[in-house]
Structure formats: structure tokens, C-alpha cells
């Protein structure tokens, strides 16, 4: 490739955080009009590298060339001037402003002291048309879908004149259909001469749109490959550093009696509107029921209602034959419920407390961990030692604060605690969120093992892959209601995607036929 086509070149980038090398000799080259995927596990150094590129961090050593010229990107403003723009995973939009207002915010066109809305609108609409980013400029951001918000974010940086676009895990919040559309947008942007860096851990997306892929592992450059020349399996191996199994093996179904029965459940969200609107479901021993759906369709409320964290307005939750509706969380836990929360740092762990203490967060008051209210530290330590070994939790000591562990190991602490209690019902809410391939594989295997041991597992996840791979049955949740129940081997992403947007399927409802 000729040099004039290279818009960004990062050479031998090293970023040293007090002796910890987050980036250690990384090279990256972005060509004009191309899409470069940046692949790496969590903590591999992707974000550090992109922070350097967008002027938030300064490299310890190494050189950056923008359009062939050696540059020092000292600040985010400098990056903006160079035409580098970033779409963050969490959108930075003002909800009560219109789409147009959000786009021009900070870069308003003015006629004297007055805002020239008309001119701005023309400019935005021109951009929207040129890059096929359909938006309604007069709608409020609060009233548009997540996919539309993403388009607003993209327009925002295009409006500021960005030629180099960095996308940070852009598809995490989208439905399969929206992802397809987004992929087309990316291709369109590249076609129009924009250069794109796509941070992702989804191999299929790389295959679908990227020209080249740069893989980094533990801060080091593993290499840059032409996407058409490399297989998914090879990419995964290079990212993780060892061979990975891409397919999980699942044993034949062996279902027992109903462990969880939810009947006509109605639950309100924090503002008092109904979030779960008359949902019924049943889950048997030895079965994994996947709850698919887009974030915010009642998943949080459903899990909280079952675990006693949220008031049930109507209907009932029956666990192991006992009516546990609106019972305290502790009673529900004692009835044989384990729960892996979606937000591990907020709900799952007390980060300042030791690994050993976190491992007994629900059982500290029971024998052998305490006796008449006096804590038995020897028993806690012994228990921690066994769990650390059994679940391969990587920590120097079980006395360390849990916050010092990596995300994957923090999740292992939760998994160890929840699975060790021998509960009959395991609720796993986004159990692999933000984890790397190795940790995801580990957690999936653990869940399948529990299923084969006859546990009932309620898997709530926004990752369709995960739902498809693990579930015996999939319930699609839309707007607090069941929009369909399907079997994973009799469906596909398109059908699930439609159900997730509330478009119901003709024909029988699998859940009815089971009960």
C-alpha cells in the first residue's frame, strides 16, 4: 500500500502505567476508505490505544503519523482538529434536546448573535442523505430508538468534520436487524472515503465489514491480517493466545419437574409504570430457559421480582412448589435460588471486601461460617481456599480486596459463590458481560454442567449468540410481555430479531404446549 493512502500510522506505541505496560510496542495502520477492526480481549489495551489516538493519553514512547505527517496528539481538541472522531459505547446525547440540537451542540452556525437553525438543518440533512443515516432532526433524543441515537452520534462527529471514525463496540446495544443495517452504514461511510477503526470482540462483524484486523493481546501487537485471509477460529486463537472451542457440546435433554413458575406477573419499574405486563413462564429442572430481548424490555424487573428485590404487583412466583411472591430476598435465597447479577460490581460484589468475604456474602450467618453471631474466620478462609482452587480464581490471596481482581476473576468469585450453594434455580443475568473469550467459555461450560446436574437455569442475556448456544428454550421478551417462545434449533437470528421488536409469530406458543 502506498504511503499517501495511509491516514493513520501508529508506530511502536508504548504506554507505561507505573511499570504496567498497557500498550507494549503496538503498530497500527489505517488506510483511507478502509475499515480496520481492532480485536482484543478486555484489558488487552484496545481502549488505551484509542485513548492515545483521541488525545486523552500521551504515549510513553512511539510515533503517530496522521496523513503521513508525524503528529503529537496532545489533547482531544487536537484530535478533533485532525479529523479524528469517536463514537462511544455509551452515547453522549442530551435527552431533552432534539436530534438537530444534539448534532450542532458546540458547533452552532450563527447569523450574528442568533442561531441559524435553518442552515444547520440543511447541512445535517445533506450529511444524513449522503451517508444514508436516516434521522428525523426535530424529534427529541429521548423519543428515538437506540439505533437512531447511534446514527445521531455518527452524524455529530461527521458534522464536526471527522474523516477518521472510531467505533467502540458499536453493536452491543443493537438488535440483529439493526446490526445488519449498521454494517451497511459502515460500508457506506468507507465507500464515501471515511476511514474507520472498529473496536469489537465479535468475530462475525469483523468478517462482515472489515478489510484488515489488528489483533492485540495483553498489550502486545499480535499482528495485522487481511480479514479475507483469516478464519474466525484463527482470530479467536490469536486474541486469546491458545486454542479455543468455538462450539459447545450439549448433552441430551433430561427435564424434571417445574422448579420455577411465574404466573401472570405484573411488576412496575421505578417510575411506577408497568414493566412486566402479565408474564407467565415455567422452567424445569435440567433446563436452560433463555430470555432474549433488547435491553430495557423488562429484564431487570423480571429478575428483581423473582429474587425478591422488587415488589410484585400482581401474579405469583412459585419456586420449588412454594409461593415466594414478595418474600424477602433472604427467604428466596434459602428456598434454593442462586443469582448472578448483570452488574457484577454494583450488585454482585462488595469490591472493598476480600475475596473470602465475598464468597460468603449470603451464607455468613450460617454454620460453619459463624456460630451464635460470632464469625469463624478459619472456616471462611478454608472455604475460600477451596473455592479459589475449584473455580480457578486467579488471585494472589483470598484476603485481597475483590476490586483488585480482573473482571473475569471477579465474575468467577460470583459464579463460585452462587454455584457452591447447591441451589436448584440459577438465575444468570448477562453472565458473560464484558468478559473475554476464555472467561466466556468457562462460564458457559459451568452453566451447562449445572444444567446437566439437573439444575433449572434462567438465562437472561442481550447476546443472542449466548442465548442460542445455551438455551433449551427461548422466551422472547418485548415490552414486558412474551412475544414468543421458540426452540433454538428451530429458529434463527432473523426470527428472534423480529420477535424482539414485538412482531409476533403465527402458530403455536411453545410455552403453552409445555404446561
Amino acid at each position: 500500500m502506498e504511503n499517501k493512502n495511509t491516514v493513520i500510522e501508529m508506530k511502536h506505541i508504548v504506554k507505561d502505567f507505573n511499570g504496567f505496560k498497557a500498550n507494549n510496542d503496538i503498530n497500527l495502520k489505517l488506510h483511507k476508505g478502509e475499515i480496520l477492526a481492532l480485536l482484543g480481549e478486555n484489558g488487552a489495551g484496545k481502549s488505551t490505544l484509542m485513548s492515545i489516538l483521541s488525545g486523552l493519553l500521551e504515549p510513553t514512547s512511539g510515533e503517530i503519523f496522521v496523513n503521513g505527517e508525524k503528529t503529537n496528539i496532545a489533547s482531544p481538541t487536537a484530535a478533533k482538529k485532525l479529523g479524528i472522531g469517536m463514537v462511544h459505547q455509551h452515547f453522549m446525547l442530551a435527552n431533552s434536546f432534539t436530534v438537530l440540537e444534539n448534532i450542532i451542540l458546540g458547533h452552532e452556525t450563527t447569523k450574528g448573535p442568533v442561531l441559524d437553525i435553518k442552515k444547520a438543518k440543511e447541512k445535517v440533512l445533506a450529511l444524513s442523505e449522503r451517508y444514508h443515516l436516516a434521522i428525523d432532526p426535530d424529534k427529541k433524543v429521548a423519543d428515538i430508538t437506540v439505533a437512531q441515537q447511534q446514527r445521531v452520534e455518527i452524524l455529530k462527529i461527521l458534522y464536526r468534520g471527522a474523516n477518521i471514525l472510531i467505533f467502540d463496540e458499536p453493536t452491543a446495544v443493537l438488535t440483529p436487524q439493526e446490526i445488519k443495517e449498521f454494517m451497511n452504514i459502515l460500508k457506506g461511510l468507507a465507500h464515501e472515503g471515511k476511514s474507520i477503526i472498529l473496536i469489537t470482540h465479535k468475530l462475525e462483524e469483523i468478517k462482515a465489514v472489515a478489510d484488515e484486523v489488528t489483533i492485540i493481546r495483553t498489550g502486545q501487537d499480535v499482528g495485522t491480517y487481511q480479514v479475507k485471509d483469516i478464519s474466525n477460529k484463527r482470530m479467536a486463537e490469536l486474541m486469546v493466545g491458545h486454542a479455543v472451542e468455538m462450539k459447545l457440546t450439549k448433552r441430551a435433554e433430561n427435564f424434571g419437574q417445574n422448579i420455577l413458575e411465574v404466573k401472570d406477573l405484573q411488576v412496575k419499574e421505578n417510575r411506577g409504570n408497568l414493566a412486566i405486563k402479565g408474564l407467565s413462564l415455567s422452567l424445569r429442572a435440567g433446563e436452560i430457559l433463555g430470555i432474549a430481548g433488547i435491553d430495557g424490555n423488562g429484564q431487570d424487573e423480571l429478575v428483581e421480582a423473582i429474587t425478591g428485590l422488587r415488589h410484585v404487583d400482581q401474579g405469583s412466583v412459585i419456586i420449588n412448589g412454594q409461593d415466594m411472591t414478595n418474600k424477602p430476598t433472604r427467604k428466596i435465597t434459602e428456598q434454593g435460588v442462586a443469582s448472578i447479577p448483570a452488574d457484577r460490581q454494583k450488585y454482585g460484589l462488595i469490591l472493598q471486601m476480600s475475596v473470602a468475604d465475598n464468597l460468603i456474602l449470603q451464607s455468613y450467618y450460617q454454620q460453619p461460617f459463624s456460630h451464635h453471631g460470632i464469625i469463624n474466620f478459619d472456616a471462611i478462609k478454608k472455604h475460600a481456599k477451596a473455592a479459589v482452587k475449584k473455580f480457578d480464581i486467579r488471585t494472589a490471596s483470598s484476603d485481597l480486596p475483590t476490586g483488585e481482581l480482573s473482571g473475569g476473576n471477579q465474575q468467577k468469585v460470583i459464579i463460585a459463590r452462587e454455584l457452591e450453594r447447591g441451589s436448584d434455580l440459577i438465575i444468570a443475568f448477562q453472565p458473560t458481560r464484558g468478559l473475554d473469550v476464555g472467561a466466556i467459555e468457562y462460564i458457559h461450560k459451568q452453566l451447562l454442567k449445572e444444567r446437566d446436574r439437573g439444575k433449572a437455569i434462567l438465562l437472561v442475556s442481550y447476546e443472542l449468540n449466548e442465548i442460542m448456544q445455551l438455551s433449551d428454550r427461548i422466551l422472547v421478551l418485548h415490552d414486558g410481555q412474551k412475544s414468543g417462545v421458540v426452540k433454538p434449533d428451530q429458529t434463527n437470528e432473523t426470527e428472534l430479531g423480529l420477535l424482539m421488536t414485538g412482531i409476533q409469530k403465527e402458530g403455536q406458543d411453545l410455552d403453552q404446549s409445555f404446561s
Binding site: K346, Q352, M353, L361, Y364, Y365, G434
Partner: protein
């Protein structure tokens, strides 16, 4: 920047703060041409150099131990209890009243009864704030401050309007308590040069031990700490936040109440009308902060405060340095301790504001995240479920 382990830092910050406080005091003395070396040596000499001074220093430290333990328990549960003055005052008046009203009861009944009643009074005052927080999400900083005023004027009313005249000397002072309701010990007082040191110090040491045992060894302490560090995860794990907020406030107020009891049955042997929220409450807060809410830290910090206060009197008479210097030294120490919290808060905020966190989902600054002291930030309020 000098790098030290978190553990060393815990000790280093209070020590540096104390040294810096003394230095500031010295500088101010120099500006007004006093000799800081003479002043400080006379301060230490009068607080520690003779038995009477030593006894008075210990006597002064006793109520501070209780109020500081009270503050520390609440802060472990994530609660900023600045109602210590009111809780202590309630305990003071209640215990004196009980003793005065039952002068004929034998000592082994009367004294425990009065102490427990004082603790109960403090617990009730603090419990109101705890209840409001647990069930209505009311900010405890506001309710405890307001309760200080309520208690201040309620005590005045009770003493002047409700207490039988036979128990009072005029409108503003109660009669002195009889010996069988007093914490005064003749032998102890004689040993320390006839100072006002009393049996309260033994109760204080007991309180320190109970506090240590409670927080380190019991499931109650485990729950309180869990709720204080992360109320969300605690709820999720089935630990009742409501129960623990109220419990920690009852314990906090109970200890503060005994702080008041020690003033009444130990130091003053009576109750007299207070014109403002009593000092042992505020000083207890400072002592707990300086002692980093640890058992041993509270003991040392309460003694240091007493040395300053008792020694300050000596400094004034021997070296002629105004007593106000002591207030400046204390204020400076607290100021430096507070700077630590401000820095850590800023540091924690900076970390979240940086680029890294939008990527790392779910990293929220929880209560006390990155701050190993009381949670001074006003949290989003809401009823605790």
C-alpha cells in the same frame, strides 16, 4: 509523588495531619511573638507531667471515646451521624434525672439503670433519624442536625418546666447526684491527684473493646460494613439495609448517649442548661475522623484531643499563650484530615471522568468507593427497600 501502600497511608495521613496542625499553631504563635517551644512544652507538661493533669486528661478523653465510637459505627454503615451532640445531651439529662429521682436505690441497681437509660435516650434520638432514612429516604445529615436543636431545647424545657423543683437548684442546674448514682471513685481520684477522673474510663475502654469485637468478629458488624460499603450488593445478598441502618443508628446513638452519661455521672455530677449543642458531640466526630474509625485510632485520638484541651489551659497560665491557639491547632488537624477526603473524592471522580470508564460497563462509584472514611457525599436519596 511518594508511593506508599494503602495500609501505611492510613496511619500516615493522621500522623502528618497532627504534625501539620502543631506546625500551623507554632507559626501563628511566632507571628504574635510567642515562643512555641515554651508553649507546647508547658502544654504537654500540664496535661501529662503530673498526676492531676494526667487524670484530667483521661477524664476529658472518656466521653470523647463514646461519641467517637458512636460516630464510627454509623459511618461504617454509610451513615453520617452529626447528631452526636443531641444524642449525648439526651443521655446526660436522662441519666442524671433517673439518679436524682431514685436516690435510695442501691448503687448496683441505680448506676446500671441510669447508664442504660442514658444509652436508650441517645439511641431513641438517633433512631428517629435512622427510621426516617430507612423508610422515607430522608437525608440523615439534615435530620440529625435538626434533632440537635430539638434535643437542645427539649432538654431545656424538660428541666425548667417538667423536672420537679425538688431535684433542681434554681432554673438552670440540677442538684448534685448522690454517691450511689455516681461514677466517682475515691481511690482513683486520689491516685490521680484528686482529679475528676472517674469509672467512666473503664466503661470507655469497654466500649472500645465492644466496638472492635462487634465490627471484627460478629455477623452484625459484617452486615453493617457490607451495607455501608455497597448497599446494592448487600440487598441483593439478602442483607436488610433497613434493619442495618436503623440498628447502626441505635448503636451509634446509644454510645453517644453514654458519652453524655459520663459527663453527668462522672465529670459534673449534675446537669445544667446548655446554650448550644454540646462539645463532646462535635469533638467525638473529629476524634473518629482522626482515628480513622478504628478502635485503637479512636483511643489515641481521644487522648490527643484531651491533651490539647487540658494542656491548653496549662499553656495559657504557664506560657501566657491564649487558649484559642488550641482551637486553631485542633481546627488545623481536622482541616488536614478533611483535605485527605477531598483529595480522595476528587481523585475518585477524576477516575470515572476519564476515558476508560465508558468502556468498562458497570463501574460506578458506590458509597465510600475509594474513600475509606465516612461517606460525606450526599447520595441520591430514596427509601431503602
Amino acid at each position: 509523588m511518594i508511593k506508599v501502600s494503602a495500609k501505611t497511608k492510613r496511619y500516615l495521613v493522621p500522623i502528618i495531619s497532627v504534625i501539620a496542625g502543631f506546625l500551623i499553631g507554632a507559626i501563628i504563635m511566632l507571628i504574635w511573638s510567642y515562643n512555641p517551644i515554651t508553649a507546647y512544652s508547658s502544654m504537654f507538661a500540664s496535661a501529662l507531667g503530673n498526676m492531676n493533669g494526667l487524670g484530667e486528661t483521661i477524664r476529658e478523653a472518656t466521653p470523647l471515646i463514646f461519641t467517637a465510637v458512636g460516630f464510627a459505627i454509623a459511618s461504617k454503615a454509610g451513615f453520617f451521624n452529626i447528631g452526636l451532640p443531641g444524642q449525648a445531651q439526651a443521655g446526660w439529662l436522662t441519666s442524671v434525672w433517673i439518679v436524682l429521682a431514685n436516690p435510695t436505690l442501691p448503687k448496683y441497681i441505680l448506676l446500671p439503670l441510669a447508664i442504660l437509660a442514658g444509652a436508650l435516650a441517645g439511641a431513641i434520638v438517633a433512631g428517629i433519624a435512622g427510621f426516617l432514612r430507612a423508610y422515607f429516604g430522608t437525608n440523615e445529615v439534615i435530620t440529625t442536625i435538626m434533632l440537635n436543636y430539638i434535643v437542645l431545647y427539649l432538654c431545656q424545657y424538660l428541666m425548667q418546666q417538667v423536672m420537679p423543683e425538688s431535684l433542681r437548684n434554681g432554673a438552670d442546674t440540677t442538684k448534685d447526684i448522690p454517691a450511689n448514682g455516681s461514677l466517682h471513685l475515691d481511690w482513683l481520684s486520689h491516685l490521680f491527684g484528686d482529679s475528676r477522673i472517674n469509672a467512666g474510663i473503664f466503661l470507655g475502654i469497654g466500649a472500645i473493646l465492644i466496638y472492635w469485637f462487634l465490627m471484627k468478629k460478629t455477623t452484625v458488624g459484617f452486615e453493617i460494613k457490607a451495607v455501608g460499603l455497597n448497599p446494592f450488593a448487600s440487598r441483593y445478598a439478602g442483607i436488610s439495609a433497613k434493619k442495618n441502618i436503623i440498628l447502626s443508628m441505635l448503636l451509634s446513638g446509644g454510645f453517644a448517649g453514654i458519652g453524655g452519661v459520663v459527663q453527668g455521672l462522672g465529670t459534673y455530677q449534675n446537669y445544667f442548661t446548655q446554650t448550644s449543642s454540646i462539645n463532646i458531640g462535635w469533638d467525638g466526630l473529629s476524634v473518629a475522623l482522626l482515628g480513622n474509625s478504628t478502635a485503637i485510632g479512636i483511643l489515641i485520638a481521644s487522648l490527643l484531643f484531651s491533651i490539647l484541651k487540658i494542656g491548653g489551659l496549662g499553656m495559657q497560665t504557664v506560657a501566657g499563650v491564649p487558649y484559642e491557639i488550641v482551637s486553631i491547632v485542633i481546627a488545623a488537624i481536622i482541616f488536614f484530615i478533611a483535605i485527605k477526603y477531598v483529595f480522595e473524592l476528587l481523585f475518585a471522580v477524576n477516575k470515572t471522568a476519564s476515558y476508560k470508564h465508558p468502556l468498562k460497563k458497570g463501574t460506578e462509584i458506590g458509597p465510600n468507593n475509594g474513600v475509606d472514611g465516612p461517606n460525606i457525599k450526599l447520595q441520591k436519596e430514596g427509601p431503602v427497600l
